[in-house]
């Protein structure tokens, strides 16, 4: 290849593509150039820490190796072969340690600390510094999640660069200068942003630590168990840090195609839900005094009784967070064992998108990305938001059609916006057609679970271009996997029993869903499979304790169509779902293994082309695209959807737009440290609507609709389309679709 260059490093010749970073070039020759500030995922190198000083032939001064790229004929000497470079490196380490407190014995980072490691390998054995070290107040709460120790900080600026250059939340900054420089948030406000926790992992010392993990474990008594996050449809690869059978921490496990090594705060910090106070650890049956604990034998007997009693008149409400194995096992029991085919799936899904499959990381190199839908991307699939920001920094055009988008459309306008893209003369549509790397994203409800999106992608010819594709951002972590597993369990058609003999509520999201509660009112009996007492009380006749995705082996299908392996990181306080489902299935003459691996093999043959489960270990790969098949037509696009909602109704009424915030749901609600990340009880109004009502940000407003009236704090959202009032689901109470908003 012509663009390979030869570089001599410490008398070792190495050939790499031109432009490869010198740190990576050296690494490919087995030579370490030690670094602190260098982190390619944060953008261009800044050469601040000076740990990487090397000698380059022809240049009189030592050079920061991290800022150099491989050039043909370059001759580099690292500290291993150059006295001058070694002196430079020693100088840097000595300077870094001059004010570092060396409190490694009580530092969370101790044992897994780059500063400790590099000091061990290259550092001086003693200090020549006889003056008092700088002492500072500590720890500083950067937020309820992150503690800052400024004495330990070596000012590598990784955290501030993440904040400004990756997440673009611009909240962590350096203030003051020289030796007074310190990391801080603006005016010491809490660092409130979806990705704040990444700075803990980026910190090469113990300056930024997790308040949840502080003083919880030493690195030699922990295990990092590789798994994937089961909280959203991205499926970020993670390591669960386990100590004595308890999850203590969640870390990113870089899958370059899926998450790029980033993790949102929901994925990182919600693990304490495992030990929530109202966690159910034994089966419960409804008795005279409400829910009463029973033994597992009695519980399964009661379950069998309820199942037999209802027969085919069973409806199953699924959460979409079950593993494919759990969903399949449940489906085998109910559909094969009882002929009960009726299921309420959490959302529609479509296989048509498989023709436009590509890794999420492709977004970063796209020329144009068009997003349609009512929801913010970060609320549905947080890490996708980071890929989009990367794309924008790389020069991509990003267009979002939605109530808060760059091109404002009313709620429910996604399908109409997509349709417009295919019409001739549509600017973004034309550019999607002509670009080599064009990406479409559906971020919201409706649209046939990506079916509408697939049609548009097909109309724009995206399946023929390897760098182009389409993503539907589902509402649930494994909605598609669950639907596939349910469908694969039996061939018979679904029927809608009326009345419902038994409602089976699978999982906490389903249990928390008001629509499922409505269904329960029509059911004679309810079995709830849930983790938390509060979600079972008052409606379930039998409660079977559930496990979390951190506690079970299994498989998830993410939004790209990538199957990824969940691992049991800790032993759950309750039996695995597959264990008792297998037991129950046996009572209905259905053979079902209690082992996820075996269940997966059976399911894979039926639903996933027979993919071998062992291939999903490590970082799973994305299956090839399938040929495009037109989806079954769904309901036609409502023409009114694109019209301004205020035109539809008499003046004064606003269309209520509910959204499900990233920081919501049964798990988040059970983690106190995350409370500050949850949306406050506020109503977002457009500038136009607020002005018309003389409402300013911070004012209390009354929101009324058809007999319901609630008080919220108003906030002007300049990016919101007029005629719409936006509110987080959890604060919307029973408000109807159209509301009156009056200043209090």
């Amino acid at each position: 290849m012509s663009d390979l260059v030869k570089v001599m490093i410490d008398d070792r010749e190495v050939e790499v593509p031109k432009g490869t970073g010198l740190v990576e070039t050296a690494a490919s020759a087995g030579i370490e150039i030690p670094v602190f500030c260098y982190e390619p995922r944060l953008g261009a190198p800044i050469g601040a820490c000076r740990m990487c000083l090397v000698e380059v032939e022809g240049l009189p001064k030592l050079q920061a190796g991290c800022t150099l790229t491989a050039q043909d004929g370059m001759v580099v000497k690292t500290a291993a072969s150059s006295e001058k470079a070694a002196e430079g490196q020693n100088a840097t380490l000595e300077f870094i340690l001059v004010n570092h407190p060396l409190d490694c014995p009580v530092c969370d980072k101790g044992g897994e600390c780059p500063l400790q490691d590099l000091t061990f390998r290259y550092g001086p054995g003693n200090t020549r510094m006889s003056f008092s070290k700088i002492t500072l107040e500590k720890p500083i709460p950067v937020s309820p999640l992150i503690a800052l120790d400024r004495e330990r900080c070596i000012l590598c600026y990784r955290c501030t660069r993440f904040s400004s250059d990756v997440a673009e939340d611009n909240q962590l900054v350096a203030r003051n200068r020289g030796s007074h420089t310190e990391i801080s948030t603006f005016e010491s406000d809490p660092y409130r942003a979806p990705f704040s926790g990444n700075v803990i992992e980026l910190c090469p010392v113990g300056a930024l630590t997790s308040t949840q993990y502080r003083f919880e474990a030493r690195p030699w008594e922990i295990q990092n168990v590789p798994t994937v996050c089961g909280l959203c449809p991205v499926g970020c690869n993670v390591n669960a840090t386990v100590r004595e059978g308890k999850v203590k921490r969640i870390l990113s496990r870089n899958h370059p195609e899926v998450d790029g090594g980033w993790l949102c705060d929901k994925g990182r910090f919600t693990y304490p839900h495992l030990t929530a106070e109202d966690r159910i650890t034994e089966p419960l049956v409804r008795g005279k005094l409400g829910l009463e604990p029973v033994g597992w034998d009695a519980a399964l007997d009661r379950a069998e009784e309820l199942l037999r009693g209802a027969g085919t008149r069973i409806v199953t409400a699924l959460s979409g967070s079950e593993s494919v194995e759990q969903a399949y096992a449940l489906a085998r029991l109910l559909r094969v064992g009882l002929g009960a085919h009726a299921a309420v799936l959490p959302e529609s899904t479509s296989d048509a998108l498989d023709a436009f499959r590509l890794p999420l990381s492709s977004i970063a190199s796209a020329e144009i990305v068009v997003i349609v839908g009512d929801d913010e991307v970060a609320d549905r699939a947080p890490v996708v938001d980071l890929w989009l920001r990367a794309a924008r920094r790389n020069g991509a055009e990003i267009v979002h059609y939605g109530p808060t988008g760059t091109e404002q459309t009313g709620p429910g306008g996604a399908a109409a916006a997509l349709h417009a893209l295919t019409e001739s003369g549509n600017g973004p549509g034309d550019r999607l057609r002509s670009a080599e790397r064009a990406i479409l994203i559906w971020s919201g409800g409706g649209g046939g679970g990506g079916a509408r999106l697939a049609e548009t992608a097909h109309a724009l010819g995206l399946e023929g271009k390897p760098g182009s594709g389409a993503f539907h951002l589902p509402a649930t972590p494994n909605g598609r996997g669950v639907a596939a597993a349910w469908a694969a369990a039996a061939d018979e058609d679904e029927s809608n029993p009326e009345p419902i003999g038994l409602l089976i509520v699978s999982g906490d999201e389903a249990a928390a869903d008001p629509a499922v509660r409505v269904l329960a009112e029509r059911a004679e009996n309810v079995i709830a499979i849930t983790m938390f007492h509060a979600l079972a009380v008052g409606w379930a006749d039998l409660v079977l304790p559930a496990t979390s995705s951190l506690e079970s082996d299994g498989t998830l299908l993410n939004l790209e169509g990538r199957l990824q392996r969940l691992r049991r990181t800790v032993i759950a306080p309750v039996p695995d779902e597959l264990a008792w489902l297998s037991n129950l299935a046996g009572r209905f003459d259905v053979e079902l293994s209690p082992h996820a691996v075996v269940v997966f093999d059976e399911l894979s043959a039926r639903a996933f082309g027979g993919v071998d489960g062992s291939e999903l270990n490590g970082t799973a790969s994305l299956p090839a695209r399938t040929p495009y098949e037109a989806p079954v037509p769904a309901a036609e696009v409502r023409a009114a959807a694109s019209a301004k909602p205020s035109d539809e109704h008499f003046l004064g009424e606003l269309r209520l737009l509910r959204y499900r915030p990233l920081f919501s749901g049964p798990f988040v609600e059970r983690v106190g440290e995350l409370a500050f990340q949850r949306p406050t009880a506020e109503l977002e109004l457009s500038t136009e609507d607020a002005t018309r009502r003389a409402i300013a940000t911070g004012d209390s407003v009354v929101v009324r609709s058809n007999g319901t009236s609630i008080e919220l704090r108003a906030r002007i959202n300049r990016g919101l389309i007029a005629g719409v009032a936006r509110v987080a689901d959890e604060h919307a109470a029973d408000l109807h679709l159209h509301v009156e908003v009056v200043k209090l």
């Binding site: 820490c49 000076r50 200068r177 007074h180």
Partner: protein
């Protein structure tokens, strides 16, 4: 008197100012601009190259070559920027402020000539925040030029700095101008390729740009006749320290340093004797009195003496000056102004100051003397930008040339001047330009 003293930068002022446009035009103002605009950009650059005008900010880089590094607009589809570094902050340097005060039009005319040469329509003048009068004069001058429609397609923006020495470093200046923390960038890429807003940018000093006007007025060849080989033209020297009449003196390069101090500066004040001279701003290597008497004020002579012409700030020190105290004061300055981005500068300048203070206080040991050298060497050449290096270089030069004085502090367990040392009229201590108690430690 020795050599002739042609006035180029201050030509036509007769010791006064040219702040009214009519007065400036009366002495031939804007003729160079008209002439330049009639030429192609390449022809203007050729004229600058012929003059061998070199940067007056400190690095002495050929101005014409700097402009020629800016890619032609058809090579790169981005705006081109001219940024003027008017953030004059090097201790001892006060020439640019006088230029802006007395010949604002010659300076602004130079901006327009440079903008023409690099085909830029956007000029930013980054002016030191403390320079209020200078800012007002420039604003008024710009207003007068706009009224006469002299700017053409060019926009000139005056941007005031917020008080950081580091923002005189060109990449830190660009960061600050973009609204970020004033911290240097790694180079490459150089500003000529990716400067302001990642676009091609020429960054020039006020005096360089003002001199460019003269180059275009009298022609490069004629300009090159001034001064000496390799150091053509005149230079505005800021003379300060223990002399009778300090101030700015425009002199041709090659002028004897001795004559500047003794003749123009009226010699050493109070009947004291010359001890040493800092020839080019606080960042340069100090000269002993003997060395100072032998050098001329030009690039080659000063480099030959192991120092540099720098920003042409000549600071004369008399025999009352304790070199350790001077070192403390200089090092405090760099410690205070360190931006905090790179480790050796942020940590090293503070450590160096502490060691120097310990020696000055009489608590220093022989080991501290060695440590002083070692820490300075560990700073020098390891930093991201020249700031940290400057501290080390300056302090080491005091140590090397006045080692006995440092040694006496250790041997006597205190300052050998016993409180009689005076740094009056030398560099202002950090505490004088700091209102923040937290940083005004000593």
């Amino acid at each position: 008197m020795t050599a002739p003293r042609p006035e180029v930068v201050f030509a036509g002022t007769n010791g006064g100012t040219l702040t009214e446009i009519a007065a400036y035009e009366a002495v031939g103002g804007f003729e160079a601009l008209v002439k330049s605009r009639a030429l192609s950009p390449d022809e203007v650059i050729a004229e600058l190259n012929a003059s061998n005008l070199r940067g007056r900010g400190g690095a002495f880089f050929p101005t014409g070559r700097k402009w020629s590094f800016v890619p032609k607009p058809d090579k790169i589809d981005k705006p081109h920027y001219l940024v003027i570094n008017a953030d004059e902050s090097e201790p001892g340097t006060f020439k640019d402020r006088e230029i802006m005060l007395r010949v604002p039009f010659r300076f602004l005319e130079g901006c327009l000539i440079a903008a023409h040469a690099i085909e830029s329509q956007h000029v930013f003048v980054y002016i030191r925040g403390e320079y209020e009068a200078e800012f007002d004069v420039l604003e008024s001058a710009l207003e007068q030029m706009r009224a006469k429609d002299l700017l053409g397609e060019v926009t000139i923006v005056l941007h005031r700095g917020a008080g950081a020495y580091i923002c005189g470093e060109e990449t830190a200046l660009l960061e600050s101008l973009e609204g970020r923390r004033g911290q240097p960038r790694t180079k490459p890429p150089f500003p000529a390729i990716a400067g302001l807003y990642a676009s091609p940018t020429a960054v020039n000093n006020v005096e360089s740009i003002t001199s460019a006007t003269t180059v275009m007025e009298i022609g490069g060849a004629e300009y090159a006749k001034l001064g000496v080989e390799n150091s053509t033209g005149t230079r505005v020297f800021s003379l300060s320290g223990n002399v009778v009449t300090g101030g700015n003196y425009e002199l041709p390069h090659g002028f004897p340093l001795r004559d500047l101090i003794n003749d123009l500066g009226g010699g050493i004040a109070d009947g004291r004797s010359l001890k040493a001279v800092i020839p080019g701003g606080s960042s340069t290597v100090v000269l002993t009195a003997d060395e100072a008497n032998r050098v001329t004020l030009d690039f080659d002579s000063l480099v030959g003496a192991g120092t540099a012409i720098g920003s042409a700030a000549v600071i004369a020190l008399d025999d009352r000056c304790c070199m350790v105290q001077l070192a403390v004061r200089v090092s405090q300055f760099y410690e205070h102004e360190s931006c905090g981005k790179c480790t050796p500068c942020r940590v090293g300048t503070k450590w160096l100051t502490s060691i120097l203070q310990k020696i000055e206080d009489g608590r220093g040991t022989q080991a501290d003397m060695d440590l002083l050298v070692s820490v300075a060497e560990r700073i020098n050449g390891k930093c991201l930008c020249p700031l940290g290096d400057s501290d080390a270089i300056a302090v080491m030069s005091y140590f090397d040339k006045f080692r006995d004085e440092f040694q006496a502090h250790v041997d006597e367990g205190g300052c050998p001047f016993h409180g009689t040392s005076s740094l009056d009229h030398l560099l202002a201590p950090v505490a004088m330009h700091v209102h923040n108690e937290a940083v005004a430690h000593a």
